[in-house]
Amino acid sequence: MIRKVRTHPSQNERLLFERSSPGKRAWQLPELDVPAVDPVEALGAANVRDEIPGFPEVSEVEAIRHFTRLSTWNYAIDHGMYPLGSCTMKYNPRINELVARIEGLAWAHPYQPESLAQGAMEVMARLEAALAEITGMDAVTLQPAAGAHGELTGILLIRALLEKRGDPRQKILIPDSAHGTNPATAAIAGYTVENVKSTGAGVLDLEALARAADGDVAALMVTNPNTLGVFEDNIAQAAEILHAKGAMLYMDGANMNALVGIARPGDFGVDVMHLNLHKTFSTPHGGGGPGAGPVAVKKSLEPFLPTPRLKRVRGKWAWDFNRKRSIGRVRAFYGNFGVLVRALAYILAHGGPGLRNATVDAVLNAVYIRKGLEPFFDLPYPSPNMHEVVFSDERQAKLGVRTGDLAKRLIDYGFHPYTVSFPMIVHGALMIEPTETESKFELDQFIDAMISIAKEVETDPELVKGAPHSTRTSRVDEVAAARKPVLRWKPA
């Protein structure tokens, strides 16, 4: 029984280009207060374009209706639970949006004099300090633009330190449960990737690690809790094995929402890690970005952090560009400042004790879901889980229904699907991360929906395999999209 949603009509809407008409406009510029310039004269005839062929021409009313109608075709956290494992889709507080738009912050130019940017720099310094305290690390750079960018920064830091010691080494070890960005990052940083198998319990295999950790290994990249939502309980021993071989421990902080206020990577042997402010610290995903991927390091790596660094000079903030051992810049300017403002607003709202309470609720929600669904879905790794729980579709697959089908059916019940078919060490994975910002009521509805779907698999598998049935767009043909790519609109 679907309790959360009912179907309702949604507006059709053509593409902008299909509703354009010459001369329509949504803009008006003020009168020029200087003489107009002939572009051909000023720029040269060869440099001037006639027009932008195909560019839209619509009125203001049509523009706002267009984007409003499109928006109604999206599911969003504001609609309800969005239990994508590893993505930490928590509520995005609106106060964060407001403060990021305060004029003195939003209109600060990155090259304005430091004396007129003290407020922006103070915000960054305070966030750096808060993240260092939360992670137990010694120094933080806010420059990386997203998680994968933070990974790249972190691996380049490791490379720089090892190079300084005389040998950058060749390999990065990555568990088979890792996010795809980890091996992709290692490759971009010039390392080869060696996969390390997990134990039957889904955690790091210390023996396998000890065998793999030879003198050519630069680092192990590990997510903790891992992508099964399981805490790597021998992480400290893993760090010892690596350190004994002169290698380093990199932690992917994608799952930091399970640890804030409970345990600190800096206290269990991690040398360098990144955080995803758009996950743990509530900045909006915005349909795929922007994010921010600060990197936190131990002291030994601090000299190599990207330039510039904040420093205190005679009671004022200043940018230090003169850092000889730095890996250089990983992006222009100082980072995704607008995202940093939002993350700091979130930290201020919760405060120290509040952040820990949020972690407790995040774990409680995931354990509650596990208890509710364990009788109905296969749980391949029964270790205690933290902020997320990973089931497999084994029982349903026997009846011909796969995790992707179950996920699509969840849409009919009014929920966004969980993460499908990841991590890869679980065959047919259902990776569920509720986050702390779901009420008991919403969680109960979700559990009921999942149980109902499990029953449908037994009574009417075709219903599940054909889902979703209630959306304005039914299952899309992704194969056709890739076979003959149409990547832009063209006039008929």
């Binding site: 003195g104 137990g136 949020a358 767009t473 056709a480």
Partner: protein, 444 residues
Amino acid sequence: MRYLPKSDSERRQMLDACGAASAEDLFAHLPAAVRLRRPLDLAPGISEYEIVDYFRARAAENANGYASFLGAGVYRHYRPVLVDTVVSRGEFLTSYTPYQAEISQGTLTAIFEFQTMICQLTGMDVANASMYDGSTAVPEAAMMAARITGRHRVLAARTVHPEYREVLRTYALHQGMPVEEVGYGKDSGAIDLDDLERKIDGQTAAVIVQSPNFFGIIDDVKSAAEIAHRHGALLVMVFTEAVSLGILAPPAGADIVAGELQSFAISPSYGGPFAGIIATRDQFVRQMPGRLVGQTVDTHGNRAFCLTLSTREQHIRREKATSNICTNQALIALMATVFMTVYGKEGLRELALQNLAKAHYLAGKVQNVFTGKCFNEFVVRVGNPELVNKALLKKKIIGGLPLGRFYPELADSMLLCATEMTSRADMDALSGALRAPAAAEELA
């Protein structure tokens, strides 16, 4: 706490259901040695009211009420109200990457429109759904060119944004991708084509040229492309001032365009978040980094959109991916999409013309260093830029960017920018101050 939607009695019920006596039980499996046994050393949580207060106070410590002539990759353009109206909708703001196409058609359709408009603007066949920013789009374009050509050497004009070149060097260092720089004409301020001819060889994968370049000058992309192509290299065209594309012809001969869209209604925001793009020709699409949205149909035969060609990407290809990029700048790209929609075909041209008129008005009143044709930025010789700027601050004017930090040979010059938001009165005040005896004395 206002973001946690549970009462204590609900928590109790849930703990009971989980068989836990207390919340602490949920963490009992963690090794004792890793546990944090004290509260985080962060102040207690505060109210919404206090948060606004805190950030207003920080904002007050920044520049307020100043006229500004800073550009250099970050431009002050008017942001139409519709932009924030649209991106503040929770359906766009609080949704994830559109992997579940059936309930993400809003984001997917908007990205498809975005890709189309970027193609129309740049004259390219295909554009991706966004990169982090212009500075990271440049090394991604260079790596793409290396994959396409099977070569590794990169030549970048010194007139490419200096910070973009720094980022390029960071990425290139460990890819076996040597980066060399091509000089600029002392008079023209444009790429030195003779120097390019001297440095290019059969191992060159990409020639990277920016236009308008860092000095604001419309660079000779066409000639650079001819030289690049004659040697089997690709031409990567970079732009930082997207508004210029409203009037400038699309880059002739470019194979890859790597650009920054900050000018399209994205606040300067002390340097980010912005949105970069990569656009290219059809034949190179499978070597592109980043997400792509494609058109398809659903089971009812209705037009629909979905993420596509993802076999290039890290979540499928892992270490063999074209890039490690995952999260990009979707919401910022949406801002740019709304901006392009609001201005449209005529408006973007008019906007570009206003920028041109303003900058040329100001350029006519000061001493230009270069003879090349410029759009809305140009280099002026002022003697001691730091001192000049200090004097200007007293008049509530933030002057241009002193160039000595990036170009020691231009230590006596600054980069000035005028946009549609720069008033004639402010330009007169600036040029007056630059000429005034008082300023001259201060310079002496």
